[in-house]
């Protein structure tokens, strides 16, 4: 029976030759993860199950990245709970401050997420790893607890929407703009419960970093998962992380059958797509950069699990080189991992940012969810390369968040208002 990429991975993980959309399955997980906000409730629930070990101590990842380095006493207690659980159950992949990074950039870097894997995470942006041709989806803490105990998760097989991106990206347009454009086009529930399969020659031309960016925001269209068929670019990336981290595990390359059934096929011409800006307060409230108008900013945030990888930092540094941020705003840089930080130092990128008067943070989710490291006051307005801009997302309920790609964010940091690098 012809199947989509998503269906094939799900079938393989419940031991069946094929599965159909709508079916409820019990699937074996290759990795289950949680962070400092979602792991504590999961730990509480896990203890209630009454087993004396996790299903596989190598297949659980505990990543304290949201309110860390410990932002207050309560947050310190939450991380302490994770640490003690990791020690008690000998969890291989618990990351202490100094090693930790933003989960959805860190785990691929360490070779813990591979093509063909089935990954669940107590974080909605777990869909990020679909960029590698894995099935990866966000779940709650209870699902995380049950999976830590049993190694399984219940799932409904989703229908797949095939997105085809044709042509070449316009100047300054990134993977971030493609996904913002898509969410603007179909709405925040346009892919509700569906798998979003990103295809087309424009996708094949994207680097891994940009593919992660796209898959990261599948949830913002309501998607169950985002997924990209693995190709030479994927394989090159995977071979490198496997070698660097001495990974012994095998990976599987799946692709959708030519006659697989899709619920919808949506085609876009990349020639039509400008850099996008999502206005408050939905990620779907998008406008092309040429129609943004005059929006003065108090803060620009560059980084996060969406756009905190080395390529993103390079794009920002190229624009900010030799320039200073606008005097009326603050710029916060959120590199996603320590490896990215080291690379930034090596390439002189940290110098560029500091000379431009930007604050360079240690890896943390920080201000993305209004936690710490750059929260907004009443009436303030931020432009961020993050993934969400609901009311109160970055701080005060009466603050505003706009979303964009890295090039627009860097240019806006200089201009003091939302604008394109073309204006510099």
């Amino acid at each position: 029976m012809p199947m989509t990429l998503t269906e094939k991975i799900l079938a393989a993980h419940c031991g069946r030759a094929d599965v159909k959309p709508g079916e409820l399955i019990n699937a074996r997980v290759d990795l289950v993860l949680g962070n400092d906000i979602t792991a504590p409730p999961a730990i509480k629930e896990f203890e209630r199950i009454g087993v004396d070990r996790v299903f596989d101590k190598d297949k659980v990842a505990l990543v304290p990245d949201h309110f860390t380095p410990n932002k207050d006493i309560k947050s310190a207690e939450q991380v302490k709970m994770m640490r003690e659980f990791a020690r008690k159950y000998q969890i291989t992949n618990f990351f202490e401050i100094g090693c930790v990074g933003i989960e959805h950039a860190l785990l691929p870097e360490l070779g813990l997420t591979l093509p063909g894997d089935l990954i669940i995470g107590a974080d909605s942006h777990t869909c990020t790893y679909g960029a590698l041709g894995a099935f990866s989806t966000g779940v709650g803490s209870t699902d995380m607890a049950a999976a830590m105990a049993t190694g399984e998760v219940w799932l409904k097989v989703p229908e797949t929407i095939k997105f085809i991106y044709n042509g070449k990206l316009n100047k300054w347009v990134e993977g971030k703009d493609l996904i913002l454009y898509t969410i603007g086009n179909i709405g925040v529930d346009g892919a509700r419960y569906m798998a979003m399969e990103f295809t087309g020659n424009a996708i094949k031309s994207l680097s891994m970093d940009q593919r992660f960016t796209m898959a990261n925001m599948a949830i913002e269209a309501g998607g169950k998962n985002g997924i990209i068929e693995p190709d030479d670019i994927t394989i090159r990336y995977v071979k490198e992380v496997i070698k660097r981290n001495n990974i012994k595990r095998a990976y599987t390359l799946y692709k959708s059958d030519a006659d697989a059934k899709y619920s919808k096929v949506i085609e876009y011409k990349c020639g039509d797509i400008e850099p996008q800006v999502a206005f408050p307060s939905l990620p779907s409230n998008t406008k092309p950069i040429s129609k943004v108008g005059n929006i003065k900013l108090d803060q620009v945030v560059i980084g996060s699990c969406t756009n905190g990888r080395i390529e993103d930092m390079r794009i920002a540094a190229k624009i900010l080189k030799g320039k200073k941020k606008h005097k009326d705003l603050r710029v916060i840089i959120l590199p996603a991992t320590q490896r990215v930080v080291k690379q930034m130092i090596k390439e002189g990128i940290v110098d560029v940012f500091i000379d431009a008067q930007c604050a360079v943070s240690t890896p943390t989710c920080g201000p993305c969810l209004g936690g710490h490291m750059g929260v907004l006051a009443e009436g303030e307005r931020a432009l961020a390369t993050t993934n969400r801009n609901f009311v109160g997302r970055m701080g005060h309920p009466k603050s505003e968040v706009y979303l964009s790609g890295v090039a627009v964010a860097a240019a806006s940091a200089i201009l003091g208002r939302i604008g394109s690098p073309e204006e510099l």
Partner: protein, 166 residues
Amino acid sequence: MILGKAHKFGDNIDTDAIIPARHLNTHDPAELAKHVMEDADPRFAAKMKVNDIIVAGENFGCGSSREHAPIAIKAAGISAVIAKSFARIFYRNAINIGLPILESKEAVDGIKEGDEVEIELTLGEIRNVTTKKNYRSAPFPPFMQQIIKAGGLIEYVRRKIHGKNV
């Protein structure tokens, strides 16, 4: 049988509105309950009564996977959420923790703020006691009904692992 007063909300009520991130340095249900729906309606926690029902538009619970959202709602004493549609992760979280949820566009259109609403969960029946109109929600698939009957996913898993004598 569930019986309570309806509180109406619009479309796309997201998890940041249901339980803002500034309160996520705790996972204590009683603490979370104090701030339920705070950024959608700052006065909601104070004005709601135990057994009240949330009645909302499309895509309720969109955004984060944080289970703190349905936990806050359940801990505050909300007896059920009726919505035109639910975001995926919120939907499964609600089932997993045993928070009753029902999907029905007609019911949401037919219920006003303050109406008395009765719910028969196993049949998916929603009765607006104030207007005397009845609505039906699609029943859950058998597997999900088992989870709900057990009281949530953890109870269901416990029974599978330890047998029925828990």
